[in-house]
Amino acid sequence: MTALGQTFLVGVLFLFMLSAPTFLSDHQTHILIQILFFAYVSSCWNILGGFAGQLSFGHALFLAVGAYTSTMLLLQFGVSPWIGMLVGGMLAGSLGLFIGYLSFRYGIKGTFFVLVTLAFAEIARIIALNTSAIGGASGLYIPIRGNDFWYLKFVNKAHYYYVIFGLLLVVLAVTAWLERSRTGHRLIAIRENEDAAQALGINSLRYKLLATALSAFLTALGGTFYAHYVTFIDPSTLLNMNLALEITIYSIVGGIGTLLGPLLGAAVLVPIAETVRTELGHNYAGVHLVVYGALLMIIVRYAPEGIIGLIRWLREQWAKSRSLPTHHTSEAKP
C-alpha cells in the first residue's frame, strides 16, 4: 500500500469515526465509547509500558485518582470536571513521579517494577475502601443533571463519544510525537537497552520519570471521563487488578509500543467481550477476561509484537513472494 493509499484509508476512518454517532444506535454508540475509552487508557499506558518499556500493572491507580479527584471536587466544591480533570491529572502525575522515582532511583525494573506498581495500587485500594470521606466501599455517585457541558453532563450519548474521541486524539498525538521526536527516540533507546542508552549520554532516570508522569497524567483524564460517563465510582471497580490487566492487554494484543496498537487491540477485543457477555447469558463482570487471557497467551507465545506485528510480517511475506527487491539481508547475528 502506498503512502497516499494509507493516508486515504486513515482519512476515511477518521471521517467514519467522526460521524459514527449520527448513524449508530445508542447501544452501538455505547460500545464505540467503550472501545475508545479503553483505546485511550491503554494508549496512555503504552507510553510507559510500550515506549519506555516499563510494564505497570497498577495503572488503575491513576485512573482512580483522576476519577476520585474530579468527583470529590465536584461534590464538595462544585468544581467543573473539566478543571477537576486537570487537577486529577496533576495529582496522578505527581503520584507517578513519586512511584517512579522510588523505583527507578533504586534500580527496580522489569518484573519487580510490575510488582511495585501492583503493591501501590493494592495499598490505594485498601485505603480507599476504608476512607469514608471518599465514599469508602459504597463509592460515590455523580448526580445526573441533564445537559450541562460545563459539568460534563450530556443527555445524548453522542456528546460523550466526542469527548472521549477528542481525548483519544490527544493521546495519539502525544504518541505520534514520541515516535518522531528526539525525546521519544531516546526513550525508546532506554527500552531497547538501558546501559547502551546511558553510554550514549541519555539520563535514563529523567526520561523514565517523564514517561511515568505523562502516562499517569493522561490516564487520570480518562478516569474523570469514566466517572462522568458511568456516574458511579467505587474502589472495587476502579482499583481492580483485573481492570489494570485489561488495560495492558489491549496494548499487548494490538501491538505494544506502537501508535495504533492499543486502538487496534481495543477495536478487536471490546466487541469480542461484548459478544461473550451477550452469548453467555451470565452477566458476571469479568467473564470476557477468559478470552482476553487466552488471547494474551497466544500473542505472547506466537506473536509478541501483537496484531500490528502480524500485519508487518504478512506484508513482508507478501513482498517476498512477489520477489520485490528487498535490502540485502545479512545472516542472523551469532
Binding site: R180, S181, R182, H185, R186, I188, A189, E192, N193, D195, A196, A197, Q198, A199, L200, G201, I202, N203, S204, H327, H328, T329, S330, E331, A332, K333, P334
Partner: protein, 241 residues
C-alpha cells in the same frame, strides 16, 4: 595536561581486587592499548572510567576535571564514550536509528541527528546497511555499529572494548584502518584487545594488566620481550602477528 588521567584506581569486591592501584595517563591524539590475560580487570577499568561502576579508591580525571563517580550519561556528554565488549545495540531499531541515538548527544534536531548519523555510517562503510534492523546484522557489522554509535556522540576520548575479537583477519585489517581514520579525525582512543595483530599495529603505548595490576607500560615493541608480561601470559596464547 593529559586528556585522561587515572590515579590509583582500585575496585574491590569483598576480598577480591578486580583493579588494584592502577595509574596511567593518555595524551590527546594518541592510542593507548590495554592488554592482559582474561580476568585481568580490563573491562572493569573501562566501567570505572566511564561511570558504570564506582571505584573503591582512586580518581579519574578527564580534561583536568574529576569525573570519578559521575553517571555514564554525564561522562558521555563531557566527551568520553565507551563501547561494550558484549554488543549492546538497540535490537529492534535500524542501523541508522541506532546511530542517531548516539548523535542525539550533540544534536537537538532530529534531522541534524539523522544527517550526522548518516555521515558517520558512511565513513564506516555501512551506508548500505542503514535501514536494516540491528538484530539482523552479522558480527562484523555489529562491531562496526558499536563504533558508529559511539562516534556519533562526537567524543574526544573513545573507549573501544574488544572491537575486533571474533573477526576474520581481513575484517580485522579493515577495522584497524578504520580506527586509524578515527584517530586521524582527532579522537583519542583507548582500546582493550586480545587480538595482538590489531593492538600492536595501532597503539602508541601499551599497558598490560594482570590480576588488576599494571605490570607494564611502554611502546608495543617492548611488550613481547618484557619478562613480567611473558610470565603473566604463560599458559595463554600470545598470537603475535
Amino acid at each position: 595536561m593529559s586528556l585522561l588521567e587515572v590515579q590509583g584506581l582500585t575496585r574491590s569486591f569483598g576480598g577480591l581486587r578486580a583493579v588494584s592501584n592502577l595509574s596511567f595517563a593518555v595524551e590527546r591524539g594518541s592510542i593507548l592499548g590495554i592488554i592482559g590475560p582474561n580476568g585481568a580487570g580490563k573491562t572493569t577499568t573501562f566501567s570505572l572510567i566511564s561511570g558504570f561502576d564506582r571505584p573503591s579508591a582512586g580518581e579519574v580525571l578527564f580534561k583536568g576535571e574529576r569525573i570519578t563517580g559521575l553517571s555514564p550519561d554525564v561522562i558521555c556528554l563531557r566527551g568520553l564514550t565507551r563501547t561494550f565488549q558484549i554488543m549492546q545495540a538497540f535490537p529492534k531499531l535500524t542501523v541508522l536509528q541506532n546511530v542517531m541515538i548516539g548523535a542525539y548527544a550533540r544534536h537537538r534536531a532530529v534531522s541534524a541527528a539523522r544527517s550526522h548519523a548518516t555521515e558517520v555510517l558512511r565513513k564506516l562503510g555501512m551506508a548500505a546497511r542503514v535501514e536494516e534492523q540491528a538484530r539482523n546484522l552479522t558480527l562484523a557489522d555489529l562491531k562496526r555499529l558499536e563504533i558508529a554509535k559511539a562516534l556519533a556522540t562526537s567524543p574526544e576520548l573513545l573507549l573501544l572494548d574488544e572491537v575486533v575479537s571474533g573477526l576474520t583477519p581481513t575484517e580485522v585489517e579493515e577495522l584497524v584502518g578504520l580506527i586509524r581514520n578515527v584517530r586521524a579525525g582527532g579522537v583519542t582512543i583507548i582500546m582493550i584487545e586480545h587480538v595482538m595483530q590489531a593492538i600492536m599495529a595501532l597503539s602508541d603505548t601499551i599497558v598490560v594488566l594482570h590480576h588488576g595490576e599494571k605490570i607494564f607500560e611502554g611502546p608495543p615493541r617492548q611488550v613481547a620481550t618484557n619478562p613480567a608480561v611473558v610470565q603473566a601470559y604463560l599458559g595463554e596464547e600470545l598470537a603475535l602477528a
